[in-house]
Symmetry: C2
Subunit: 229 residues, 2 copies
């Protein structure tokens, strides 16, 4: 493994003749430049399937920089998931400790999930890919750090709401797949299917109105009394 005491001197210099989208951010740290480049590629392609070389090219740097900072592509992708979910998972932890009703927590939780997927539409596919393609130990660590906290926090909200009579009785494991599925599908398919429905999925106004539509759908699906949410 390369020494980590200092980055190679030339790695932050973009190749001449190219004008990558990230070049204006080369003042930021090398790590952030590379994470942003990976995000841009995944958002544009609608897929988490990006190569290390494409990331380096998009960032306007040479490929060894990726290995210098992250060890491997897998290391970069794990850091990306960490950066993209860290704040939301922290807020979710604070949310479940608030002294408000379960229905109110559900509302903030669903809005947060959709905001996260709207910003990082590649996130679900990327997590699936990392869990599938990593060795079992690393795979378990990814699940423990990024997936289980969401499952556990949502379970607390659902169980409290059912116990309080705010939600109808429902298996929290079923609720997890129903809620997250309804929240994430638009964002998982928006790039390939953007020109269907007269182009609706490509329209940012559609995405904005989707948040309210999904919240209404999920609240009703859980039997929330509209006057209590």
């Amino acid at each position: 493994m390369a020494s980590r005491s200092a980055p190679p001197a030339d790695v932050l210099v973009p190749p001449t003749g190219t004008q990558p989208a990230s070049s204006s951010r080369l003042g930021a740290s090398g790590r952030d430049v590379l994470l942003d480049a990976a995000r841009e590629l995944m958002i544009a392609s609608g897929s988490s399937d990006v190569s290390l070389h494409a990331i380096a090219r998009q960032a306007g740097v040479t490929a060894p920089l990726v290995k210098y900072y992250f060890g491997s592509k897998e290391g970069l992708l794990t850091a990306l998931v960490e950066a993209d979910t860290g704040k939301s998972l922290g807020q979710l932890q604070q949310l479940i400790e608030l002294d408000i009703s379960a229905a109110e927590k559900l509302k903030l939780h669903v809005t947060g999930i959709i905001r996260t997927y709207a910003r990082h539409p590649y996130l679900n596919g990327l997590l699936n890919r990392l869990v599938r393609e990593s060795g079992s130990e690393r795979s378990d660590r990814i699940k423990a750090n990024f997936v289980e906290p969401l499952i556990k926090a949502q379970r607390v909200i659902i169980e409290a709401g059912v116990a309080a009579g705010e939600f109808r009785p429902i298996d929290p494991n079923h609720a997890y797949f129903l809620i997250v599925g309804a929240c994430q599908y638009l964002f998982a398919t928006r790039v390939p299917f953007g020109n269907l429905m007269g182009g609706a999925p490509s329209d940012d106004a559609f995405v904005r109105s989707y948040t309210a539509a999904a919240l209404d759908f999920i609240q009703r699906g859980l039997g929330v009394d509209p006057d209590r949410s």
Copy 2:
């Protein structure tokens, strides 16, 4: 392109020393053997990302057979989508012409979507991949043949239900992503996340109970009066 008058004589002979899962079906047509091999790989890995060589190996045949029958991997994957969705799309067309309530159509429709994804959990990822990776003309054909019929049929059901006062008012485009998202997410993530929740997603009983849970959730989400469905 190879002549299509007859398959190469040796292609259906499995290599010695291997015992692929499909070998017992070598009596079936070569096309079906290859489609089944692709299905098995995608179901086991939880991903639509399979190589032409892996498909040939799984089928216990040589790689040229795939090109002989399907022209390319893309040709095989398109044939797979056609085989997996043809019957369901035909039934959906018959369903919307039935003289039953929109709520009853919704129930049959949702049950049909979940049955399709339970049998072919790779289907959504595969369609996204084909649309993303194909040339624009082929990509448009895939959308027109396999995605638009579902969107259109579901729109007819939703609009009829809203007009009859059976469903609450909802944008059919929003409804599409909410309903399909809730139906497909378990199946899209079941392999990588199977050992979460104490192993619930890996349990076939969980999958069976999910159909009823999703139907209830979606009916409530659309404001269906439980006595009318």
